[in-house]
Each structure stands twice: as C-alpha cells, then as structure tokens.
C-alpha cells in the first residue's frame, strides 16, 4: 500500500528491514529510483546467489545490484541529496511515532544499550516525505502510535503517514487521522491498539486518498 502511494518518478530511500519490501511492490507501469545512503542511486534487486559483490551493498550492508543508469557517489554527496531535499520519499521503520509526527527509531534509551544512529536523523530532517512502515504494536502488544514518544527522538514532527498491519494513518498537527483500515476491522478495533486518539479520515470509498 505504501508503494502504491509513492508517485511515479520519485527518488526513494528505503530503511532497513520491513521498508525494503516496498521495492518488491511497485505497481506496474510506475518507476521509482531507489537511493541508498552509502552511495548508490539506482539500487536494483538482490543478486543471484553466488553473484554477491562485497563492494556493492545497501545501507543494511546487504548485497544489492545496480540498475542500468545507476550512479555511485561518496557519502558527502549522498547526504547532500538527502539533506538538500533532492530525495522525494523515505520509508522507515519505527519504534514509536507520536500523533504530531515525532519519530523514535534508533534507541530505546536503555543505559546498557550501544547507541547507534546511522543516517536516520539526516533522512528525517532532509527528505521531503517521510513514510513509516511498521507493525501497529510491539511484540508485547504495546502501542507504537502514541501521544508522545517515550524513547529518544530521531526527529520532531517529521512523519507524514504511518502504514501498519492494522491501518493507514496520517500524523497531523491535530493528531492521528485514519485513512484506511485493514479488512474486517472497525475504527474502534484499531483505536484499542493505538496509544493516541484516532480521528476518522476515511474517504467514502474506504481507500487512502
């Protein structure tokens, strides 16, 4: 669904993990160019087994391929693309999202954790549209969509829309607005798993606008 919402011709950065699935779901007839912050525009599908190149990897350090027309560049240029607003869409995972679009996705803040931030703070500060793709709750059933994040922030007011297994919701200055629900679920069902008020913003067709 996230893939279907990204306009044709967009330059897109995909976070590590679930967001990588977006590349497999691009609708027919639409072209997205994928950027990886370690220096490649035009990321292709994973290589066939045995064809991996340790010098051709994505930000998750997994082997990838480069499409015809791809370009390599150094890290300062790569983050100039990000910070300079040249990348249209970034799809990221989340630990927590607040109703006004604050994102926490790099640290639980536990004292013995090894802090590691990577490029997440630059991506949310610079990319024009930030989409979050995540499970609606944690493995323990705790809501990830909250009034305010309790974990250390990646960025303030940066998330546009959240896609979960239960719903699609926009983060707005007035809080979360549901745009679509998973089949068979009511707004009340989804509200029960959400840690902030969820307004009904579904269009009459029930599809995300």
């Amino acid at each position: 669904m996230a893939a279907a919402d990204i306009p044709d011709g967009s330059y897109v950065n995909l976070g590590i993990g679930i967001p990588e699935l977006v590349a497999r779901s691009v609708p027919a007839g639409r072209q997205l160019i994928f950027h990886t912050e370690n220096g490649l525009l035009g990321v292709g599908p994973p290589p066939a087994e045995g064809n991996e190149d340790p010098e051709l990897i994505n930000a998750g350090k997994k082997p990838v391929t480069a499409i015809p027309g791809a370009a390599y560049f150094h890290h300062a240029d790569s983050f100039a693309m990000i910070r300079g607003g040249h990348i249209d869409v970034c799809v990221l995972g989340a630990m927590q999202v607040s109703e006004t679009g604050d994102l926490a996705n790099w640290s639980t803040g536990e004292p013995d954790a090894i802090p590691a931030v990577g490029g997440a703070m630059d991506l949310v500060a610079g990319v024009k549209t930030i989409l979050v793709l995540t499970e609606h709750t944690t493995r323990d059933g705790e809501p990830k969509l909250l009034r305010t994040c309790t974990f250390p922030l990646t960025g303030v007011g940066v998330v546009s829309r959240v896609y979960t297994n239960l719903a699609v919701a926009d983060a707005t200055p007035r809080g979360f607005v549901a745009r679509a629900l998973a089949p068979g679920l009511s707004l009340a069902d989804v509200q029960r798993w959400t840690g902030a008020p969820l307004a009904d913003g579904r269009s009459t067709t029930g599809r995300a606008p």
Partner: protein, 236 residues
C-alpha cells in the same frame, strides 16, 4: 619528482604515532582498508582517536585494532553491526569513549574539515539528544544545529585504482567515506588494487584528485573481511 607510491603497508603507516587521530574509510567491509589497519596494529601506536562510520566486525581489521587496545575514542555513526562484538563489550566496560554522530553530519563534518569550513549549521538531529548542548539557530523559520568540522592526522582509505600522483578511482559502494577522508587528513594513506604511472587513470574519471593524497600503496588482492570473519580469523 612527485611519486607518492610506497613499497608496503608497513612503510605507509610507519609514522603514525601514539595519540594520533586517524580517519578510517569504509562502510562495513566495503572500502575498509584492512591491510593498512593490520599494518597499523603491527606498528603499535596507542591512544588513537578513530573516526569511522562503524567499528568493524569479528576480530580482524578495525575490530582487531580496537581489540588490541589501541583506540581510546571513536567518532562514529553506527558502532554495532552484524558480528560486531569487540566494540560493544569494550564500551560497556568503559574501556573506550564514543562520540555518536548522525551519518550525514559525520560525512559533512569530514567534508568541511577538508574544505576549510570550521563549522556549519545542519537540520539533522535538531530536537534530539545528539543536539543537546550545541548551539541552535533559526534560519528561514527552521531550526539548525551547529556542528564542527573534523580533521585528522592520518586517513587510511581503500581505493580501486591509483597513480603515482595520488589520483584515485573507487569501486562501487566502496567509495563511501574515502574521498572526503582523503581531503580532511593531513596525511592520506591509500591502498589501491591497481597502481600505475601518471596517465594510468583518465583525468575525466578521477574521483579523488591527487592533491588530497600523500601516499599510495598497492594491495592487489585485499583480504575480504566478511570471509575472514566467517573463518573465525583473528589478527594478529
């Protein structure tokens, strides 16, 4: 006569002294100058500050340098990776200091250091713990945090091709921090797969111009870090 070629990794790092600040290229194993790092371990310099995106994996390369107790402090964006155990254990025991930097800010601080820009304002990290204690200023209604340039005494970088003047090309995503680290170090030391005379590289294809490079050493068949890690190799 300018000829920046040196005969061995050992000769290329022979003057790295205790307490030096060393930038080390690479994003994971891609572009990691593993032979130069191993030569630095052999050299024995201690109390190093290392500026690198990661902290290595297994017990080879950068992880081995840290395991050998040579590194006092790292400046880094992502100090844990698959098979990264040396740094986390040492960090938890208080044996090494960490300055955590968003990856794009790390890259820009290095680029600025090489370009004669002492500091700059960036939107990355504003409103987060990584901006705490730093100056924040508003431009055009948006808030930016002041970040300072990074420079180093040495950079250890892996390139693909090089010539005697220090002109470089890189291989795919192994380019990553290499070009900007060459710019930001007083002495950039490069290991390259293929090293030749001036004219070896088409001027239109040069990625890092030789003015940024001090030494070039040929390592025709560099070790592959992930393979060494899989085999359980330990350096030295």
């Amino acid at each position: 006569m300018i000829d920046k070629r040196v005969g061995s990794p050992a000769a290329a790092v022979a003057d790295i002294r205790d307490g030096a600040t060393v930038m080390i290229g690479g994003f994971g194993e891609a572009g990691s100058p593993i032979e130069l790092i191993h030569a630095l371990i052999d050299r024995g310099a201690r109390g190093l500050t290392v500026i690198s995106n990661n902290t290595g994996s297994g017990r080879v390369g950068l992880a081995a340098l840290i395991a050998a107790g040579r590194v006092a402090r790292v400046v880094c964006s992502y100090p844990r990776t698959a098979n990264s155990t040396v740094f986390p254990a040492l960090y938890r025991s208080g044996g090494i200091a960490l300055e955590l930097v968003p990856q794009g800010t790390l890259a820009e601080r290095i680029r600025a250091g090489g370009a004669g820009i002492p500091a700059f304002f960036t939107p990355s990290g504003v409103g987060t713990v990584l901006a705490e204690g730093k100056e924040v200023r508003e431009f055009g209604g948006r808030r930016y945090v002041l970040e300072h340039a990074l420079r180093a005494d040495f950079a250890l970088v892996r390139a693909d091709r090089a010539d005697a003047y220090g002109n470089l090309t890189f291989s795919k995503t192994a380019r990553n921090f290499g070009p900007i680290m060459c710019m930001a170090a007083a002495c950039a030391v490069v290991q390259a797969r293929d090293v030749g005379d001036p004219g070896h590289i088409d001027p239109e294809a040069v990625v890092t111009p030789g003015v940024f490079v001090r030494r070039v050493v040929q390592v025709a068949r560099p070790a592959q870090e992930s393979r060494l890690v899989r085999e359980g190799a330990v350096y030295p």
